[in-house]
Each structure stands twice: as C-alpha cells, then as structure tokens.
Amino acid sequence: MNGNIYQPVEMRIERAKDEAPEVRTLRLAFAHAPDREAFFRRYRVGMFGLYGVPGEGESTFCVASPPGRDYIECTFRRAGRVTAALLDREVGHPVTFRGPYGNHFPIESWRGKDLLFVAGGIGLPPLRSVIWNILDRRAEFGRVAVVYGARTVADLVYKDELAGWAGRSDVELVTTVDPGGETPDWKGRVGFVPTVLKEMPAAAPGAAALVCGPPIMIRLSLPVLSGLGFRPTAIYSTLENRMKCGVGKCGRCNVGGVYVCKDGPVFTLEEIQRLPQADL
C-alpha cells in the first residue's frame, strides 16, 4: 500500500449469478491474500464497499456475504454506468474493491435474542450477510424469522437460498409478492410486506428487527413493527446515500450532520428519526 486511501484492491469474479431482471450477484475473490486478510480483520456485517471497474468508476453497495468466507459477494441492479460495466464483466475478469467501510450491525448484542428480518426486493442483500452470519452461529441466537417480499416472483433475489431457508426448521421464512406479481405455481404469500408482517408474532423481550427495502415499504412497516412491540432502538435499517469516496471526505452522503459513510450505514430507527427527515 502506498497510503493512497482511494486505491482499491483487485478482485476476481469467481461466480456471477443472475438473481432477477438486471439484478446480479457477483462473488469476488481477492487477487492478493494480504488484501483478503486485511478485509476480514475489519469486516463486520452491515459494512459496505465500493466496487469498481477502472474506466467506468466505482459504485457503493453493501457486502452481502458474511464473514468467515474467503470471498465477498455483492448484489446489485443495473442503474448507471458503473453497474452496467460490472454487469459486463465475466467470470474470471478482475474488478476493484475498496472497503469495508462504515459501521455494522451490533450482532454480538443480539446473542440469545430473537431476530426478525424484513426485506423488500433488492433490500434483502444488506440483510443477507447478517442472516448468514447468524445462521453460521445459529445456536447463539433465539428465533430467526425472515419476511421477504418483492413486486413479482421474478424480482425475488437469492431464490436458491430462500428455498434453503424455507427447508430449515430453525428459520421461519415468509415470502410474499405484491398482488398481481404471483405466478401460477407460486407457493408463497400474495400481499404487501407490511400486511404480511402484521401476522408475525409479537416481539419477545430484547428482540431486534432489521428492515431494508424500498422507502415506502419501510415507512409502512415501521408502525407494524411498533405494533408488534419492537422499540425504535431495536429496529435497524441501513441508509444508502450517494457516495463517492466512502471515507468521509467527498461530502455528499450526509444527512444533517451525520455522515452515512462513517456513522452508518446501519442506524436504529431511533437514530433515523432524529435525523432531519427532509434530508433523507
């Protein structure tokens, strides 16, 4: 390292998986072992990174895979120049990565507690790393429930993993699609996430809820979670503001005085409510 904090490390695409229309998961292996070691020394679930293609730029996504692997994964949708370039890369091609950056979910404080994951559409990737991290250490935690919905069946990401979770007795998985988004052979629920969420059992003491998804879903889910007994300090989400540097310098991710890249991206509902709402 030459001390250039903007210098990404080289990764190699190990696997590419199409999750949904224009949504892809890349599994990236570190080209150089020291980079991998440096990453995993710091990485905790919830952190994000900047994935890039030289010549096109960098884009910010969460790290969607848990610690304890020798790779990292990210899941993204085509949105602009960088994501298009990432989609254009093949298995075996290099890409770049910077990170991990930001704070993380307080997973250690959840030991022995119940966890409820609520996700919509492309909002599952930030929670997936947490879910896998929990499942890796399943015995340390209480009940694990996942409510995941998408607009249509096609828009559900991680379909194989969903099937795997559905088959586990230690995970309670509810999948749902918006009315009209079902296919003839759809076995899951039909209905919006907040509606389905209402049927979940009340929060046990100390339980935490993690919510990620489209703003409208989050907004409508919060009162439901309150109704289930989750306090604002026990509801977690991530903010995804536009970033360029990821390291607290470029000046565009802040919400009020909070730098999402350094103080976030993980916030409790209580923290989010203290932010100037108009800046979100």
Binding site: N2, G3, N4, I5, Y6, Q7, P8, E10, P54, G55, E56, G57, E58, S59, A79, G80, T83, R89, E90, H93, P94, P215, E240, N241, R242, K244, C245, V247, G248, K249, C250, G251, R252, N254, V255, G256, G257, Y259, K262, P276, A278, D279, L280
Partner: protein
C-alpha cells in the same frame, strides 16, 4: 526583527524560487488576481484578495488519484502518488490560512488523504496580514482576525503604512523560509500597521443556535431564491472540500480523477434511482450553510467558514454566506422585527 520592503515581494519569491521552492502567490492574469504559480517577473498582488483561495495549492480542482493500465479484459494498477513539490505559498490571507484547520480535519479525521497531506507537508505558508477589509469581509464574525494567521508558518505583517512587511516566522518551516530568503530580508524595526476594521459583523452564536432548531424553516426557501445553483461560491471558498471521482480512459489505460464538486449543484446528491434527497435549491443552500456553520463545528470543532467573503465576491447574484448569516441572526434575535424588515 526581519522585514522586507513591500515592493520587494518579488525578490522574496525569486529568492525562494532559487532556494528550490515552487512559489505560489497572488498574481494577475487578464485582470483577475489568482493564487497561481509565480514566475519571474510577475507582480505579487497584495492589494486584492485572489479570486481563488489557498485551498487550490493543497486540493487542486482536478487531480489523479488512481491509474490503471489496460490489458485485455483486465487492468494493472499503477501506483499513484501525489505531486507534491516543495512549495512556498506567499501572501495568503489569514482567512485562507484559517480554513486549513477545516481541510486538515476532514482529510485526516479517520482515513488520511495522502494527496492532501503530501502537499500540506511540502508547503510552507507565509500569510499576509490584511491592511484593509472590504464589504464582503467578515472574518471577525467567525473567530478570525485580519492580522493573525494561526496555522501559517510565517506571517508578513504590513508596517510603516504598508511600505514594509515584517516577516514573522511562526514555525520551523517558516524559519527555514526566512533563512532561505535571508538575502532579501533586512534587519531593523518597523511599526506594524493597525489592523483594518472589519465592519461586517454578526453574532455567530446566535446563528448557530438558530440553525440547530430551524432545519425546516421557510426562510431557507426565501434565502435560496436568488441562487442559480452554480459552484462559484464553493470553488472560491477556502474551506469547501467536496469532490467527485470520475474515471477517464485513454488508449493505454485509465486515470481516476478527483474533481471538485459542490453541494449547490443539482446532481450532487442525485441517486441512481432518480431520488434526490436535496431536490431543490433551498435544501442545497441549507446544506451549504448548515455544513459550514453547524455540522462542521459539531464534527470538527471548527467552522467551515472563515469569513473571507469570496462567496459574495464571486456570486453572479451577489448572494453570500454573510448575507444569509445576517438574516439568520436577525431572525434569531427576539427583539428584531419580521424577517422581511431586516436590511438585506
């Protein structure tokens, strides 16, 4: 006491240049006084505040922060080091020097920006105390002084009615600079000139208090109406430091550039989804003011405004942070009348 005849600033520059410094100073081009590399023969203008600030020396408008060479479907990274020649920045104003505290903080609060730091380390700053203050100047309102430049390596203080500049080294680097220039410095006493009166003044405490509780005030819309959404103020500002990162390709490879950016520009926070958390100029102007006078003091214990007044000098519509602060101070004053009645 070392001093220098005011009309021998060029000799000072020449001496430093001979001593291996790259000299940056206020010079004129096409009638515009700018902080720019000095070349022999160029007059150093102490009579005008340069249109750009000292910031440019440490944080240029565009610089490479990454390079790659292409190879087929791949690319090889090329180590990218900052260009940081040994530099002497002459005749920077105290308000410019004051902004270095903000820049130092943001470029080092966690991750350390080697590009900024390298140039900071390679540069000696010889500030020039002000002998006059114009209508846009308001350093004293934000904790500054026209006649002191903490953070500078040396201070050039006008004396004898401006005919002489007293050279006061403040750091070892400043002493090195004085030593390098000893040939043009003279000994002897001179009577320092009285600092100019900075007439523009507002109560920053009152402004800060108002900001803390008025994120959603309708005043933002009113204050921002004249703003046309350019970056003139931000780029002239000694403390503004926002940037964009853009890649440029050539036949051999790629250069990743860091380019100045500004919160006043509409695309600054636009998400790829089309959502823009700051969708109008009111929210952008609020961000600018809040960042300078609320967030920066909160996070870095230093205001991101040093009262240099450049924003007011360059704004195509004559807006300025001082105008806004004055309006806010008036709005915050319990005794003051309705906001509209405040002299603007």
């Amino acid at each position: 006491m070392k001093s220098l005849s005011a009309d021998r600033l060029q000799d000072l520059a020449a001496a430093l240049s001979a001593a291996g410094y790259r000299v940056v100073a206020p010079v004129e081009a096409d009638g515009v006084v700018r902080f720019a590399p000095w070349s022999p023969g160029a007059a150093i203008r102490t009579d005008a505040v340069p249109v750009n600030s000292l910031k440019d020396v440490f944080f240029p408008p565009s610089e490479a922060i990454g390079r790659w060479r292409r190879s087929g479907d791949g690319f090889d990274a090329i180590e990218t080091r900052p260009e940081a020649p040994k530099t002497a920045a002459l005749a920077a104003r105290p308000c410019d020097v004051a902004a270095l505290a903000m820049l130092d903080a943001v470029f080092n609060w966690d991750f350390r920006d080697s590009f900024y730091d390298a140039r900071r380390a390679a540069t000696v700053v010889a500030a020039l105390a002000c002998s006059e203050a114009d209508e846009e100047c308001f350093c004293t309102s934000v904790g500054g002084r026209p006649d002191a430049a903490p953070g500078a390596d040396a201070l050039l203080r006008p004396a004898d009615g401006g005919r002489t500049l007293i050279v006061e080294p403040l750091t070892d680097q400043g002493r090195d600079l004085a030593a390098a220039a000893s040939g043009v410095l003279q000994d002897g006493a001179a009577a320092p000139d009285a600092p100019p009166e900075v007439r523009r003044r507002f109560d920053i405490g009152r402004v800060g208090a108002w900001l803390a509780g008025n994120f959603d005030s309708p005043l933002w819309k009113e204050l921002s109406l004249p703003c046309l959404g350019c970056a003139a103020c931000a780029y002239a500002c000694p403390a503004c430091h926002c940037f964009d990162i853009q890649d440029e390709s050539g036949p051999n490879g790629v250069v990743r550039l860091r380019n100045w950016d500004a919160c006043g520009l509409g695309l600054f926070t636009l998400h790829a989804s089309g959502h823009n958390p700051r969708p109008d100029q009111a929210s952008r102007w609020r961000q600018r003011v809040m960042h300078k006078l609320a967030y920066a003091p909160e996070r870095f214990k230093v205001a991101a405004c040093t009262g240099c007044g450049r924003c007011g000098r360059v704004c195509p519509r004559g807006m300025s942070l001082a105008d806004t602060a004055e309006r806010i101070a008036a709005a915050a004053a319990p005794a003051a009348g309705p906001a509209a009645g405040v002299p603007a």
